[in-house]
Symmetry: C2
Subunit: 301 residues, 2 copies
């Protein structure tokens, strides 16, 4: 955990075991299951477990890109031989927290043909006719794929809660539904990687102002963003509840400090790398006679 | 056109007008409408209009990546203000011609969130219940998106013709249906970029052997590939007919020599760049009061 003030203590601990394996980022950023979450205790500018600076971060992220693409190819190859495993990256965060930038810069490291990306906006009339997980189920990654959700079923306990889009009791029931849904996913071989991109209130203002200052970014701005921003405390609280209630052992939440874009990209790349490495997908063995095929090919001219 | 033996003539012509604009690749590779096509007259190792060598080609392709991503963002931004335009890249070619490699290396240059990629395999039972364009229509890019077809409706006049999967007359009717379908797409604002990846018979053998020689690539190999290869002349003929009959002014075919992977990636990047540049998508103007929003934001602290 990267709580404010914990930095020097961490360093001390590491100094005592210099040659030990570095702590996995999945451990460092994981929101512990079953504990209340206080977002104000997390520094959005922190870089827990990260490289020393931006330059090193960009370099390391690019370097990870090769490993990520290689692991993705293995995952895909394994699926052609019946391996049902896949990964789902869930991105949540306030406006301007960098969900889109993560897709561009992190998912951009993968082979696009194996990525299934869905951006969830306000539900359509058709989607409203069904339960809130209906549209989510239709967008899940297939075996061998990397699925990416830019917003997700969590919106139904975030904006849903803040804007009171459903009765309080129904909202409260959704946390359990989400846990059971995600448990069913992991049972089916879906590795669920949920990242909350944590930005500060000030950083959001800077980013919104940047959009206003640059005419090429006006299209990204919506005056409604300011209304949402006015509800910042309510959203933070809704996130705290969602993180606390839905960070389960099978599908934990990762709290990614996101004021620094280079760290955000590095950290999410690293989380994906650790998960894919743990999956250890293997190229399948040939289910045909390689030598016979070679001879037939050589005879073909 | 990059016909064999035409190189020195081209050079002579260019020498006479050294300072003229280089010929657009869309012109150089375009299959002329309404003429028979003889694939054996096209050298699959040629590099028409391309950089001097592989090293320059890789460099130029990477450089184009920035322009492509920028144009893609503009196209997407324009769509948020009602611009319905989009682009559809259709990739066709024999096994190992590099359709998948093109998606990885060329489409990999774009922001994945704006790409809609579909790989068409043998139709499913559900797809068979509908006409051959049904599944194609469902996979079209939405406004602002780059659509990519790895194989396409052309399979229904390629393997469909070679394997006689439908009555001859029905196959023959499909060329006209395809032309009308593609015309309707261009009417709706879809720029259709159709690339035939032209490899030689020898090059296919080399690439299939490479897959056999590397256990990590066995999953890409199917003994059925050798049966398809035995039908090479029939497939070449089916391609010649499809290219000749469906290279229309609104949706021309581009014949991309593809024995050299670096040239293939460079050429397709370049074709996309020329088309996107011609579309000239613009960031939309703000439809809100920028100054008022700025003031509200500054007051929000």
């Amino acid at each position: 955990m990267a709580k404010k003030g914990a930095k020097s203590e961490d360093r001390k601990k590491n100094d005592g075991r210099e040659k030990s394996k570095p702590t996995a980022l999945t451990e460092l950023l994981r929101v512990p299951a079953g504990h209340p979450v206080d977002l104000s205790s997390y520094d959005a500018t922190a870089t827990p477990g990260g490289p020393a600076d931006k330059s090193a971060g960009l370099k390391d992220t690019a370097r990870m890109g090769e490993d990520l693409a290689d692991l993705q190819e293995r995952l895909w190859a394994a699926s052609t031989a019946g391996d049902g495993r896949r990964l789902l990256l869930v991105l949540q965060g306030m406006d301007t927290s960098g969900k889109g930038g993560t897709v561009k810069h992190v998912i951009g490291l993968f082979n696009p043909s194996g990525c299934r990306i869905s951006a969830f906006k306000a539900p359509t009339p058709e989607e409203r006719k069904h339960d809130f997980l209906w549209r989510i189920r239709r967008a899940l990654p297939h075996p061998g794929e990397i699925g990416i959700f830019d917003r997700s079923h969590y919106e139904d306990v975030l904006i849903g809660r803040v804007r009171e889009l459903a009765p309080h009791r129904e909202i409260n029931d959704r946390y359990g539904q989400i846990d059971r849904f995600e448990k069913s996913l992991t049972d089916e071989g879906v590795t669920v990687v949920k990242c909350f991109l944590h930005i500060s209130y000030d950083q959001q203002r800077r980013r919104l102002l940047e959009r206003l200052d640059n005419p090429d970014k006006h299209w990204k701005f919506n005056p409604g963003d300011i209304e949402e921003r006015a509800l910042w405390p309510a959203y933070q609280q809704a996130y705290e509840i969602a993180l606390a209630r839905c960070s389960t052992p099978q599908a934990p939440w990762y709290l990614v400090p996101a004021d620094r874009k280079w760290y955000r990209n590095w950290a999410i790349s690293r989380l994906l790398l650790e998960h894919l490495t743990a999956l250890d997908p293997r190229y399948p063995k040939a289910d045909f006679d390689v030598e016979a095929s070679r001879e037939r090919l050589l005879a073909s001219d």
